[in-house]
Amino acid sequence: MKKKKIAGYLVIICSSLIMFLPFLTTVFNSLKSYAQYTKFPPEWLPSPVQWSNYAEVWKLGSFGQYTMNSVIITVLSVIGALISCSMVAFAFARLKFPFKNTLFLVVLGTMMIPPVVLIIPQFVIFKSLHLLDTLTPLWIIEWLAQPFGIFLMRQAFLGIPRDYEESARLDGCNPMQIYWRIFMPMCKPTFATLAVFTFMTKWNEILSPAIFLTSKENFTLPIGILSMAGQWSGNEQYMVAAALMSLIPILLVFLFAEKYFVQGSNSAGIK
């Protein structure tokens, strides 16, 4: 093996350990008793292993509620993003309509607008629609085609050879059928990329839920877990267990769809 490769391994193994060890320590923390969790100097391994911490988390009804809210928001957002972005992208890639190029420039331009200037008006809009403190504002926005998704899907659609739709059109397909029968099946990887990215963003989001939600029963997991600090004071190891459980769904998605995460990161870089 070349010297260079050994150096590469060394760097990567060290940094992998730096990345992973804190997580392992956290897993151990989630299995400790409160007395051991707060002991100084700390002990690394839990003894005795207290699996009941994980069961305790579910005993408090609100954790199930937070999970449900997060699932609803995430699932509706993913569906909305896939439908709306792909439709708009299809129009940009294939249909003819007035101001098409201007409008596409607008899409690119809005990607550059920092979300910070839009937060307060959005709050006002949802307030006037009486949607504050409901889950709706958190997913409805994804049904209105976010620019990143449009851009991603359009790139994929532009890569489909025109011959395919020509023959479909000769067979009597209308644009809607071409979109359903040809474009959607051919761009499955891009759909998957957009799906996993929307999933990750929505599952982990903190700013929007912190702004739009006020009643505890509407909280999502990331803010809900934090809000349980009062109820679980004296048993903070439950919160560690709760936080780790909130990581499981996204971890599963990652393990099954890793290549789409990688593709998505790259297109984020290209934008």
């Binding site: 903190i206 560690v240 936080a243 890793e258 870089g269």
Partner: protein, 286 residues
């Protein structure tokens, strides 16, 4: 078929931009209609020491964070870009923090940096140094937040760099090796210039998002218990977005908060323009 986007644009972008601009020139508490006050919010803002403190904290955070993350991500990508075994495992380790929410990261970093029972303090004690209060220490809070943010985000930037490195032809390295170039020389003279267009994108992206950093600081400095305590201790980690959030959503000073948003917007716009101009000087295009 473009209807969803047109609604999105008219209501949530154009409409919101105009509304936000109007709010920034008014007194607005949500309950009563906005009252036009001219430049009041802006003059108040520029004379408010807390605003300047928040601006400085934001700049300090960004100046530490962006170069550190970019540099280490590039080093990791170069190390990973040579067909190593167990690549998938390494990538998983680096992506684990990327896919975690800040709530998860808070407990992970707490395992190390808890001021009462964290491992960092036990390490300090073992080598005879005094324990630290970490995130509760005015001077340590921002550097430590930056360290944790670099740790969380590095895997993401690394993957972007890995894609960029695929485009650097291996013949260039081979030619340099024949001429006797060492690893560090090759990194400085070949990799860095040939990958500068990726670096440029990474720098712009991270600067824009770091200037709007909110979630990490909100979660890790106690905002989740009480929004007005975020940005502590003693406002040492109060960044512009936290300031905006507190003014707008805790004290319902929406007009004033909109003015903060617009100042932030203008700063970001100018930064991007500067970066675009400098780009011509150092970015290498083929």
């Amino acid at each position: 078929m473009v209807t969803p986007y047109i609604i999105h644009f008219l209501v949530f972008v154009l409409g919101s931009l105009l509304a936000s601009l109007y709010f920034s020139f008014s007194e607005y508490d949500i309950l009563n209609p906005p009252k036009w006050t001219g430049w009041d919010n802006y003059t108040k803002l520029l004379n408010e020491p807390v605003f300047w403190k928040a601006l400085w904290n934001t700049v300090y955070f960004t100046i530490l964070f962006v170069p550190l993350q970019t540099f280490f991500a590039l080093v990791l990508a170069v190390a990973l870009n040579q067909k190593l075994r167990a690549l998938k495992l390494f990538r998983l380790a680096h992506f684990l923090p990327v896919i975690s929410s800040w709530t998860v990261i808070m407990y992970v970093s707490d395992a190390v940096f808890n001021p009462r029972f964290g491992f960092a303090n036990s390490l300090l004690q073992a080598i005879g140094l005094s324990p630290q209060k970490w995130l509760q220490d005015e001077h340590l809070v921002i550097p430590l937040l930056v360290l944790i943010a670099v740790w969380k985000g590095i895997g993401y930037i690394m993957v972007i760099y890995l894609a960029g490195l695929q485009n650097v032809p291996s013949e260039v390295y081979e030619a340099a090796e024949i001429d006797g170039a060492g690893t560090i020389q090759k990194f400085r003279r070949i990799t860095v210039p040939l990958i500068s267009s990726t670096t440029f994108l990474v720098l712009i992206m991270s600067t824009i998002s770091t200037f709007q950093a909110f979630e990490q600081i909100y979660v890790m400095t106690g905002g989740a218990m009480d929004a007005s305590s975020a940005g502590g201790p003693n406002k040492a980690s109060l960044v512009l977005m936290i300031y905006l959030y507190q003014e707008g959503f805790s004290f319902l000073r929406m007009g004033y908060a909109s003015a903060i948003a617009w100042v932030l917007f203008v700063i970001l716009f100018l930064l991007t323009v500067v970066q675009m101009t400098l780009q011509k000087k150092w970015v290498h295009y083929e």
